[in-house]
Symmetry: C2
Subunit: 130 residues, 2 copies
Amino acid sequence: MARAATTSDAFNAVAEPRRRAILNYIALEERPVGEIVDSLGLGQPSVSKHLRVLLRVGLVNVRRDGRRMLYRTNAQAIRPLHEWTSTFERYWRHQLSRVKERAERKNNPSNDGGPEFTSRRKNDLDSSKN
Amino acid sequence: MARAATTSDAFNAVAEPRRRAILNYIALEERPVGEIVDSLGLGQPSVSKHLRVLLRVGLVNVRRDGRRMLYRTNAQAIRPLHEWTSTFERYWRHQLSRVKERAERKNNPSNDGGPEFTSRRKNDLDSSKN
DNA sequence: ACATTACATTCCCATATGGGCATATGTCAA
DNA sequence: TTGACATATGCCCATATGGGAATGTAATGT
């Protein structure tokens, strides 16, 4: 099998740089396809296809206005991604503090008995199934 | 051209469900490849390949321990994703409040003169280049 | 040096895209 | 109804994967 279909979820949808660009562009206000095409300098069919993908995963909403289709980012659909990344927040904080300690130790060579930080040993944390 | 290479950035890397699973699994503590294989029920070559991708974009770190390779999630590399999703936080909050208003209006039919929320009109916000 | 363990790579193949072009659709203006 | 606009789709092609099997490689034990 190949990669999971791009249309399957928000994670795949935002993996495309242009789709992120589109989401950023229409986050504030709904816009017709043509404006997106002009602003981002992409082909019209290309933009329509990207919008279709974004629509499928719920990342954008559409509304018809005459012959134009007004798209707008549906920010709520981005929450799952935000939440997933948030679960790592505590980790990068720990890691940052360790980096900080190392830096300080370097400036002040006196051994302050701080914890080790480079190449952690095993068993310093519970390893039961995530 | 086809999709941008998966190895190009964190967004593409985490688009793969298994890679996210791996990141979750080794977020707390470094683990040898074999353990990841057993725990996630994936093929060994497959896991090695995913780890290689994650390593390239900096989402994991490695350390050799005898014949084993201990991988661990480098949470900091996830910050960019977290920050990107955060830029939409204010939007989904607005959207949520609008949904809330609609719900309240529905329960209390008296027109409170609140703002429109369904199908916004054009020009209600500056539309200059993002 | 040889067998074993733990991973990393390489090959091959089916499939998912993404872009550009041409064309089908839907809508509004005469 | 005909013509012009604004989008959406279909088609074709080059390319990027991802998985599984087989094989290469590094490190350990005897």
